[in-house]
């Protein structure tokens, strides 16, 4: 762990981590891959915006409107800087990562980018939000959906590469929210480019955890979501190459995305406005800007190093438990901080419930990744996931609670 990284100090910024649960037990929040907690700085920024600067943006020319517009657009500038975008206009605000992925699928479809005989390539470890939009697109256009399978270790089976001449779109996740796997996305983007396919990267778990440099990635589209990166709910991001965005038709129609409207026809604004119909998530963009500032102040290198250290420790401790099987890579290499596991003789729901009774908050279920579970012949798993405020003591609490669970169920 970086010497400069003081997890105790970080925790002070997150009031919720002081919560006492039933039985006056301290909260051990190990569900950050589901959503992250929010530091005071982010909540304060949202607060201050609503209470002192609230107005609609773009269209208001009074002082409050200028303040709100500046704050909103500053959020965009900060996000653009955080991921290394060439232009701030490449950052489109959506309501979440799911909308961002659907947006790409819809407008590529409407632009005629795929048709019968064409192929869309995804992988078996995708989140449902990076599966269903492509299934729906395939259905609408007659294209065929293909996918990378998984190795027994829970990595992409790169040997059996479905990318080929007919591939028009490659959409893969950077970091799996279930297996924890970090994929070689830059290589996959390069493979897509080599066959002239569009590349879409689901960075929902990556942007919160690893330093992102869009130039090195070289993808066409990148999607992520505010609530997993210490930001608010109600906001997501679609980044897209400007020239590409500028060539695509609109997604939703309405206020702010138009150039001019008559009853007969309308013309549309340049990106990003073209893809942001209606009043945008103004206070949420302010909050996301504060989240990005917060992450930058910690240093994403440090956040990533902390994540890796905690994950390595957790893997080591969890693998000592007999009857516990980690579903996903067991080495802390190219691996994010989400560990899904099964426990012999105890259903994941029951594991999660028992852990909860000890104050340990984890998720049980399919984690919106049913196909990945199906790959490993399980319906569900229990998942512990870590973030910049997670301590080794919390991992110890998790491990103790799992032993308690085993005893409780006689497993």
């Amino acid at each position: 762990m970086a010497a400069t990284y003081d997890v105790a100090q970080v925790r002070d910024d997150f009031p919720i981590l002081q919560r006492r649960l039933a039985g006056d037990l301290p909260l051990v929040y190990l569900d950050s891959a589901n959503t992250s907690q929010k530091p005071r700085q982010v909540v304060d920024a949202i607060d201050a915006h609503y209470l002192a600067h609230n107005a609609n943006v773009a269209r208001a020319m009074h002082q409050l409107g200028a303040e709100a517009s500046e704050a909103f657009e500053l959020g965009r500038t900060k996000v653009a800087g955080f991921i290394g975008a060439n232009r701030r206009e490449e950052v489109v605000f959506t309501k979440n990562a799911s909308e961002a992925l659907n947006l790409v699928a819809r407008v590529l479809g409407d632009a005629g980018a795929v048709g019968p005989g064409d192929e869309i390539v995804i992988s078996q470890m995708e989140h449902h939000s990076n599966i269903v939009p492509w299934q729906l697109l395939a259905e609408r256009t007659g294209a065929t959906l293909r996918w990378f399978g998984l190795t027994p270790e829970g990595r992409l089976d790169l040997e059996n590469d479905p990318i080929g001449e007919r591939t028009k779109i490659v959409a893969v996740t950077w970091v799996s929210n279930m297996l924890g796997t970090i994929n070689p996305v830059a290589d996959l983007v390069a493979r897509a480019k080599a066959v002239g396919a569009y590349s879409v990267v689901d960075a929902s778990q990556a942007v919160p955890q690893v330093p992102v440099d869009l130039a090195a990635l070289d993808a066409d589209f990148v999607a992520f979501t505010g609530h997993k990166m210490v930001g608010p709910t109600g906001i997501g991001v679609l980044w897209g190459r400007y020239d590409l965005l500028a060539s695509l038709p609109p997604f939703l129609g309405g206020g702010e995305m138009i150039e001019t409207v008559t009853m007969e026809r309308s013309t549309f604004a340049a990106p990003p406005a073209r893809f942001e119909a209606g009043t945008p998530p103004i206070a949420q963009a302010v909050g996301l800007g504060a989240a990005v500032d917060y992450l930058s102040s910690l240093g994403m290198e440090n956040v990533a190093a902390h994540e890796q250290a905690v994950t390595a420790y957790a893997l080591e401790r969890l693998l000592e438990i007999d009857g516990l099987t980690v579903v996903g890579p067991t080495e802390p290499v190219d691996r994010g901080g989400a560990i899904s596991f099964t426990l012999d003789g105890v259903h994941p729901h029951d594991v999660a419930q028992l852990l909860d009774s000890k104050g340990v908050a984890v998720r049980a279920g399919h984690h919106c990744a049913k196909p990945a579970h199906a790959c490993f012949g399980v319906q569900s798993t229990t998942r512990a996931s870590f973030y910049l405020y997670t301590t080794e003591a919390e991992i110890d609490a998790l491990v103790a609670a799992i032993w308690h669970t085993k005893k409780y169920f006689g497993a």
Partner: protein, 153 residues
């Protein structure tokens, strides 16, 4: 919210030795239900004999609560008429959705009263109801098919 209120001995017993588990041949209707939140699944067949539920056979993948509940469903409904089964279902559902405010009637629900604690864990109510909703669906289909069969015969 004590977890022991949820995991009553009776529930754990049913979970470890579920009554009537397994899919048996025949049956007047088969349904497949899923709990979308967690992925738990049940395939359930209702085997009728006139108005009477002769058997409920099932293949369930799920947590202790959902498995035990399927076992109790089998206990409470097999051998009774469909109408009686639905009455029991109503009582069980009322208990589950009562947020811990409903007093269960042991005469009606027998071992089912052990599920009273589940009502305090909103996230688990769906687990307890999964098999019951599958039964409701299957029994409705089966009696509908019977009725249609009668009409056309």
């Amino acid at each position: 919210m004590n977890v022991d209120a949820l995991y009553q001995e009776i529930i754990l017993d049913h979970y470890k030795r579920p009554h009537g588990a397994g899919l048996r041949d025949g049956g007047d209707a088969e349904v497949h239900h899923v709990n979308p939140t967690c992925g738990d699944e049940i395939t359930l067949r209702v085997h009728l004999d006139g108005d009477v539920v002769r058997d409920i056979s099932y293949d369930a993948q799920g947590c202790s609560i959902s498995q035990a509940s399927a076992s109790v469903l089998n206990d409470l409904v097999v051998g009774h008429t469909v109408a009686e089964g639905f009455t029991t279902l109503d009582a069980f559902q009322e208990l589950m959705q009562g947020k811990g405010q409903v007093e269960p009637d042991e005469d009606v629900l027998e071992d089912g009263i052990a599920f009273a604690g589940v009502a305090q864990f909103p996230a688990r109510v769906k687990c307890a109801l999964l098999s019951w909703m599958a039964f409701k669906d299957a029994a409705t289909q089966a009696t509908g098919a019977q009725a249609a069969g009668k009409e056309s015969s």
